[in-house]
């Protein structure tokens, strides 16, 4: 009896203010989609960080005959001796986890594989453009400076690249995107909250006869407010469901595009997307219900 009564009142409220309900749902959906997008990017960045923290390395490029850096001009191509010495020294450093020697031809093969779908890039390069190098795995990626200082400028060493720095640029781009999405979504969420307040106010006004009688015959506050709260929660839920659609779309189109673009092969799993959707939908329902509750306290005297 109770449940049936409350639900039918909720349904009547949603239908009676159809235009406002649609406005609420739209606003909630857009703001949650942006919020979810921000979260999604955040998840992506975190996942990439974790991935690259394990793999990120310093690359120590050795001199070849064609190297242009001053050290290489001075000493010429790296000799076998220099290579062995540097290999040993790197391995002896406490910050270093492992050292891999990559010959020029291995590096070339790796390059071809990696950029297999960018023919122009592959054609423009040739074997030997990437000199033989050491991939140095660090125990702690933040300690790259010590290792760099130890080998930089030694005879036979062309240059030392820290992959982390390249990644950081990419991450900061994504971070910027994330914050832009989050800031816009918060503004939108605030607008959504105000809109819900107004909708519930209208709803309370159009049902003032019923609520007045309920009050008089001694219905509890909770019972009087429940249909309104549910009305807001349902609007939030529908908005959240629509936003979920956007989030899934963003996962497939936006993030996949970014990954294609930057040649990173980490994809957000179903779990991460579900997490983002869950958080967004909960936020939508919570926001709507709280906004409705605060409005009712002002406009539905009990």
């Amino acid at each position: 009896m109770r449940a049936q009564f409350v639900l039918s009142e909720t349904w009547i409220g949603l239908r009676r203010n159809l235009t406002m309900t649609v406005a609420v749902i739209t606003t909630v959906a857009i703001s949650l989609a942006l919020f979810g997008g921000g979260l999604l990017i955040n998840q992506q960045v975190e996942e990439m960080r974790r991935y690259w923290d394990e793999r990120v390395s310093l690359t120590v490029y050795m001199c070849t005959d064609t190297s242009l850096s001053p050290t290489c001009e001075e000493s010429g191509a790296a000799t076998e001796e220099e290579r062995t010495k540097i290999h040993e020294d790197l391995e002896a450093m406490p910050e270093v986890a492992s050292v891999d020697y990559v010959t020029a031809s291995e590096a070339w093969q790796d390059f071809q594989e990696r950029f297999s779908n960018h023919e122009a890039l592959v054609e423009a390069a040739q074997e030997g453009d990437i000199p033989d190098n050491f991939r140095v795995q660090l125990k702690d990626p933040t300690q790259y400076q010590q290792v760099t200082d130890a080998v930089q400028g030694r005879p036979g060493v062309d240059s030392v690249h820290d992959d982390q720095q390249v990644l950081e640029q990419f991450f900061s781009l994504l971070d910027g995107l994330k914050w832009a999405a989050l800031v816009v979504s918060f503004v939108q969420l605030a607008a959504a909250a105000l809109l819900i307040g107004n909708t519930i106010r209208l709803s309370a006004y159009s049902r003032r006869r019923e609520t007045g009688i309920m009050r008089l015959v001694g219905a509890s506050n909770f019972y009087i407010q429940l249909p309104f709260l549910l009305e807001a929660a349902v609007a939030g839920l529908i908005g959240g469901i629509i936003a979920s659609g956007f989030i899934v779309a963003a996962r497939f189109f936006l993030l996949d595009r970014i990954q294609e673009w930057f040649q990173f092969d980490i994809t957000l799993g179903v779990g991460a997307v579900m997490y983002v959707i869950g958080v967004s939908v909960c936020l939508g329902i919570l926001l709507c219900t709280v906004a409705a509750f605060l409005t009712l306290r002002r406009y539905l005297r009990v």
Partner: protein
């Protein structure tokens, strides 16, 4: 049943008190007329009983409860013991007679079986046999007020407050309404009725409390509306 002890109520926007040190005792099962010109404090009295307003001074006891000590979340339970009838009926236009009366029980969570049993009884009691399916706009003013009384009484309240229940109804029909209220009073329910209707007050010969500018100027056990009128 209702006990006012030196109650003063001043509305914020007004200088003069709506009720000024009023002390009134209404016992269980009494029938009381509250008379006086508009603005004399009748409605304020009723609102204080319902705890829709709080007194500035003095104490109000209703059904053995000190309203000042009654926390807000318990107010609904107080109101379940009080039925209310108004001049403008306050029926729900999109519900029929049965549904209007049943609404009062639905919203306090009574089971459906119980509602189906008691609502027809009360509809009969107020003299609307066979009209359960009518919509409010198909009923006369007197019949609509009977529905409102049925709704106020269906939960068997200890107190029935009526604020000018015959104000919108012609004198002949009013007599029927009064008979219904009298019948309800005979079941042991305390009835407090604010009214301007001299003929009704005179014919009933019940207790009359007269208010003027927030002060009780007369309290007679078997009174009439007033010598001056």
């Amino acid at each position: 049943m209702i006990h006012f002890d030196n109650v003063t109520k001043v509305y914020q926007t007004q200088k003069h008190p709506a009720l000024d040190s009023v002390s009134i005792d209404v016992d269980k099962g009494e029938f009381v007329f509250l008379v006086g010109p508009s603005g004399s404090g009748k409605s304020t009295f009723l609102r204080l009983v319902l705890k829709e307003e709080k007194p500035n001074k003095g104490r109000v006891h209703v059904a053995g409860k000190d309203l000042a000590r009654l926390s807000n979340w318990k107010v609904p339970h107080l109101r379940r013991r009080i039925g209310c009838v108004f001049q403008d009926f306050r029926l729900l236009p999109n519900k029929n007679v049965f549904e209007n009366v049943a609404f009062a029980l639905e919203v306090i969570g009574k089971p459906r079986r119980f509602i189906r049993k008691v609502v027809p009884e009360v509809v009969d009691l107020v003299g609307l046999e066979g009209k359960s399916d009518r919509m409010p706009d198909e009923l006369s003013g007197g019949e609509q007020q009977r529905v409102a009384i049925a709704r106020a009484f269906v939960n068997r309240p200890q107190i029935l407050l009526a604020d000018e229940p015959t104000g919108n109804i012609d004198p002949a029909t009013s007599i029927g309404i009064m008979k219904v209220l009298d019948r309800i009073n005979r079941t042991g329910t305390t009835v407090v009725m604010a009214t301007h209707d001299a003929a009704i007050v005179d014919s009933m010969r019940k207790r009359v409390i007269e208010l003027e500018e927030g002060v009780v100027i007369r309290d007679q056990t078997r009174g009439v509306y007033g010598q001056a009128y």
